[in-house]
């Protein structure tokens, strides 16, 4: 299956995700632009995290989950039978809500993924480059052998971002990456996301609408129908969504009239 017009990295095409018999999201069509930040927003239960996880087949890890339709990555459907989900997740990385460094050294946290992928280059260089990319190098360069768990919450999340970029993905999925952080650490993560979008395509799920407004280029607003099934209501440039949403439901949600 290949109908990529060449401009998008990822495309959801008539995507439906089921958990058992429950349809969690329906008929999602969404195009993700390269080297840009796309925010997924919407009330709890609208399926935005489900959509995010569908972009790198993380839902496969949920036994009852089933995805219909297609998610194409550079035009190829990642749900085709001969596609290796591990390779999909290497090229489409993920950063989670709660920082989850391994109980290993800062160095090993970053090097781990690359080692697993058979990285043959100079590991010290890769670790430094990744930590610099995550704006953490200056803070940790003298204590690389200390445990990743010794860092503050904001530093741990940047370590997770360094770990994600060490395996050279094209896309980084972020599921509320700053929701467990204090406001200053949150702003640092937002700044970091702005910096790394020069090299990566980023999709971020956030409950914080101001964060979506501040930090993203495009915004997709999801809501639920009468069956509590999530659906994409409106997608557009972030500036348009937050100044002049075209859909009444979007307007009602972002201005706090519902949700």
């Amino acid at each position: 299956m290949s109908n990529n017009n060449g401009n998008y990295v990822l495309q959801a095409e008539d995507m439906n995700v089921y958990y058992g018999s429950f349809r969690a999201v329906k008929n999602v069509n969404l195009n993700i632009a390269p080297r840009a930040i796309t925010a997924l927003i919407g009330p709890s239960g609208c399926g935005k995290s489900t959509v995010l996880r569908a972009f790198n087949r993380m839902n496969d890890l949920v036994p009852v989950a089933r995805t219909e339709g297609a998610v194409t990555f550079h035009g190829r459907n990642i749900y085709e039978p001969n596609v290796d989900p591990v390779e999909v997740r290497r090229r489409i990385g993920m950063v989670f809500q709660k920082p989850n460094p391994f109980p290993k050294s800062i160095y090993d946290n970053v090097a781990w993924g690359a080692k697993l992928n058979g990285f043959k280059g100079h590991m010290d260089d890769l670790v430094e480059e990744s930590l610099r990319g995550a704006a953490l190098w200056d803070e940790v360069k003298d204590k690389l052998s200390q445990s990743g768990l010794s860092l503050s919450g904001g530093q741990q999340q940047r370590l997770c971002i360094a770990r994600a970029i060490a395996v050279k993905p094209e896309v980084i999925l972020m599921d509320e990456p700053a929701s467990a952080l204090d406001p200053i650490a949150t702003l640092r993560i937002e700044e970091l996301i702005q910096e790394i979008k020069q090299n990566y395509t980023i999709i971020i799920v956030t409950h914080n609408m101001q964060q979506a407004a501040r930090a993203s280029d495009f915004t997709a607003f999801f809501s639920v129908d009468d069956h509590r099934t999530g659906m994409l209501v409106e997608f557009g440039e972030t500036n348009q969504i937050f100044t002049n949403p075209h859909n009444e439901t979007t307007e009602q949600y972002i201005t706090g009239r519902f949700g």
């Binding site: 609408m209 101001q210 407004a213 937050f242 100044t243 002049n244 949403p245 307007e251 972002i254 201005t255 706090g256 009239r257 519902f258 949700g259």
Partner: protein
């Protein structure tokens, strides 16, 4: 509704702008009537009222800035607050014109106003009041079509302004000792003409509020060639 207190604050703010607008609307007519009828007490009162209007404008603007800082409004709410800031500024400037007419009136002391000019000024005052009324109505109802209808009335104001100017020049030519007083009267008519333009500015912000697009209306007074 998730943000009831915030929605109430927005509504309270709108009502404050409308209340201020009503006062300015009334004072346009009071300014022209007191000017023509030589009621210097009312003229003096209008000059004094300007301070109250200025204070209220500042107070409303501070309330808007506070809402922006504390509630992070977006979409229509953000446009409403941005438009309200501008509209309050326009109302403040219109009341400056009202004060200026009051000052001219007191400067002229007991001089009589020519009957034709007086009639034209009263008509201008009524037209401007009506334009302002429609502008504020459009703001309250968030009605872009109504806002678009207002500039047509400005042509009437401009025509009255021109007629008044012709009469003023004729009076000066007939009796040059009247030149200073006539010049003052001309300033009063100019203030009214500018007030009409300011009402149109309000409409431009109403259109922005409703459509998210700011478009300048063509309201400039074209000076006739000598």
């Amino acid at each position: 509704m998730a943000r009831e207190r915030y929605i109430t604050q927005l509504n309270v703010l709108r009502d404050r702008v409308l209340k201020l607008g009503n006062l300015v609307e009334e004072n346009v007519v009071r300014a022209t009537e007191s000017f023509v009828r030589r009621d210097l007490a009312v003229s003096a009162e209008l000059i004094a009222t300007d301070q109250t209007v200025n204070a209220e404008c500042i107070s409303i603007n501070m309330a808007i800035l506070q809402l922006i800082a504390l509630q992070q409004p977006i979409a229509t709410d953000m446009r409403f607050l941005a438009a309200s800031l501008e509209i309050v500024d326009e109302l403040e400037r219109i009341h400056d014109y009202i004060k200026s007419i009051g000052k001219i009136s007191t400067t002229l002391e007991s001089s009589e106003i020519d009957a034709l000019i007086g009639s034209l000024i009263l008509q201008m005052g009524e037209k401007v009041r009506y334009m302002l009324h429609l502008s504020l109505d459009a703001y309250a109802k968030r009605d872009a079509d109504l806002a678009y209808s207002v500039p047509a009335y400005d042509n009437d104001v401009d025509k009255l302004f021109e007629d008044a100017n012709h009469r003023i020049i004729a009076l000066i030519m007939a009796d040059s000792t009247q030149a200073t007083a006539a010049n003052y009267v001309q300033w009063a008519t100019h203030n009214l003409e500018r007030s009409g333009d300011r009402a149109i500015n309000i409409c431009e912000w109403v259109v922005y509020l409703v459509t998210a697009e700011y478009r300048e209306f063509d309201s400039e007074y074209e000076m006739p060639r000598p």
